[in-house]
Symmetry: C2
Subunit: 330 residues, 2 copies
Amino acid sequence: MQDIADKLGVSKGTVSLVLSGKAKSGRVSDETSQKVRQLAAEMNYYPNEIARSLTTGKSMSIGVIITDISNEFFGNLTFHIQERAKKYGYTVITTNTNERLDEFNDAVTILLNRQTDGIILVPVDGGEEITQRIIARHIPLVQVDRFYPAINASYIIVDNYKISAKMAEMLIEKGNRRIAVVCYDIKLNALMDRKQGCIDVLNQHNLFDPALIKDINYEQQEEEIYKAIIEFKNNPDKVDAIFFCSRRVFITGMKYMHKEGIKISEEIDVVCFDKIDSFSIANIPFNFIEQPIKDLGEKAVDILMNQINGENTINQYLLEAQIRRHAQYE
Amino acid sequence: MQDIADKLGVSKGTVSLVLSGKAKSGRVSDETSQKVRQLAAEMNYYPNEIARSLTTGKSMSIGVIITDISNEFFGNLTFHIQERAKKYGYTVITTNTNERLDEFNDAVTILLNRQTDGIILVPVDGGEEITQRIIARHIPLVQVDRFYPAINASYIIVDNYKISAKMAEMLIEKGNRRIAVVCYDIKLNALMDRKQGCIDVLNQHNLFDPALIKDINYEQQEEEIYKAIIEFKNNPDKVDAIFFCSRRVFITGMKYMHKEGIKISEEIDVVCFDKIDSFSIANIPFNFIEQPIKDLGEKAVDILMNQINGENTINQYLLEAQIRRHAQYE
DNA sequence: ATGAAAGCGCTAACAT
DNA sequence: ATGTTAGCGCTTTCAT
C-alpha cells in the first residue's frame, strides 16, 4: 500500500480510502481514485485482512464448532451456515469436537484467540463452563441443534419432543401396539426429548413397555444395537415397530434387521429420525423425520449477525420438523 | 498484555516471552515467569492471534476449497484434513465452490487476503488462472481429488483410471458382456478417467457399445439418469451391468431401477464408485469402489505442511482405491 | 535477566 | 480533496 502511495505521490491514507471503497463520500477525487485503482490492479495488490482486522477490531470471520463434519447432518448444517455467512461477507472456521469435552474446550479457546466475531456451536456434554467464558468476553454466541439449559444464551433447535410424540401417535393410529425405541444414552436434550416424546405418548395409551426402550452406548453401538434387534425379534409378544432416534442408529439397526431376516415394514415397521440422502437405494417403505436443516443453519447465522451488529436480545427458537415417508415402488 | 506488564512492573517484552513459551531459553527468571503466568491466568488473558499473526507473518491457518461440504465424500475429506491440521496446530477455513468458477475465484481471493499459510483445493473447471496467482504469490498449494494438468503444482489424487479398468475387468470375468457406464459429462480428469478406464477395457474385449455410455448433465441429472435407466431396461440386447461413476449418480440410478421394477443384481448388476455410509439399509449385493479418503486428506495436509516449512519440491501422488463388496444377507 | 523501541499493514481521526 | 499521524496487540532485536 505504501508502494502504491509512493509511486503515485499520494498518501497511504488516500490509497486506503480508495481501496476500501470509501472514496465516494466526496472524499477523494475521481482522478486519484482511478489512478490508485489502476496501479493497484497492475501491481496486483491484495489487501492484508489480518492487518485490517487488527485496526478495525473485526475479523470478519465466525467460528463454528460441531460434532463431526463427516456426519451427513452436520455436513448439511455447516453447508448452510457457510453459504449464509458468505452472503454477509463472513468467513467460517469450522472445528470438530467428536463429542469430546477436551476438544470442545480447545475449539472454543482457539476461536476466542483468533478473535472470531461470533461463534455458533453444537454443545457437548459438560461444556457449560467454557461456554460461559464466551459470554463473559461478550462474544456473540448461538447454540444450534442442542442447548445448555443452565446458560442464558441464544439457541435454535428443532422441537424434538413434539415431532417424536406426533410420530408415536401416528404409529399407534396405524395400529401398532408394541413400539420399541432405540436411542443413544447420551444426556443431551436433543436425544432425550426424542425418546421422551415417544415414551410419554406410549404411556398415555397404556402401551409403554420398558423392555422395548433401548439405551445404546455410543462407543459400543454396533454390538448393542445388534443385541437389541435380536431381542425384539425373539420377543414373545411381537414387536410392531421400531423408532430409531438418529441416523446412525437407524442404519445400523437396518443392517442387523436384514441380517436377522426380518422383513422390514411387513413384519416390523421402522422409523428413522433424520433424512438420509441415500434412502432411495433401498426399496422399502418407512417413515422418517425431516429436520429443517437449512432453516437451522441460516437462522443461526442471522441471529449471530444481529448480535454482532449490536443487538442485545437473546433469541431462542424452536423449529418444527416434518414427518415424511419413503415410499416403495410397485 | 500491557496491563499485565504494568501491574507487575515488568516490560511487555518480558511478558511476551513468558506467555509464548520462550521463557526457558535461560532468558527470563523463574520467579518472574511464575508471576506473569499467574497474573495472566487471574486476569484471564487470551493472546490475540491476529496481532501475533501480523508480527510473525504466519496466520497459522490454512484454507480449504472444496465443492460442497454437504457431500459425503467432501465431508469425510474435510474431516480428515481438519483433524490432521489440528495436530499441526493449524486452524482450517473451508469454503464451498458448488462447482462454480465464480465462487472458486472468490474463495481463492478471500483466502489469499486472509493470509492463510497454505491452500488445499479441489479444482473447478476453468480455475487455472486464479490458481496460478496462488503460485505467483508463493503460497503453498496442494490440489486434491483432481488437478490441473497445465499447472505445475502438488496434488494428491486417486488412480481413477486404474481402479475403474480393474472393476471393468472383474465384471467381464464374472461373465457380464453388456456393460453400461453412467457418468457426468463434466470435463474433470477424475470423472473422465473413471469412464475411460471402463471404455478401454471394454474395447480390449470387443465389448464396447457406445449406446451404453451415458453422459449425464449435472443440472438435469434426475431426468437424464431416469431416461438412461429406461433405455437400458428396454434395450433389446440385455444389459448385464451398470457402472455408476459417482455416488449421487448411483443413488439416483438405484431409485429409478427400483421404480422400473428392475431386480438389481439378479437382472442387472450395479457398481458404485464410492462408498456410502448407508449402504446397509439396502439388502442388495453389489460391488463398490472405496477411495482412501483418510489418506487423501491427511497426506494433503502433510504435503502442505512440508511446503509451509520451506520444502520446495512438488509432490504428486496417485493413491490406489479398493474394490469392495456390499454383501446380501441370507 | 530485563527494558525499550521498532515495526507488521492497515484504518481513522485530525490537520491542512 | 488529500496528507499526517497514532495506534491496533504482539514479537523481536538491541541495549542495558
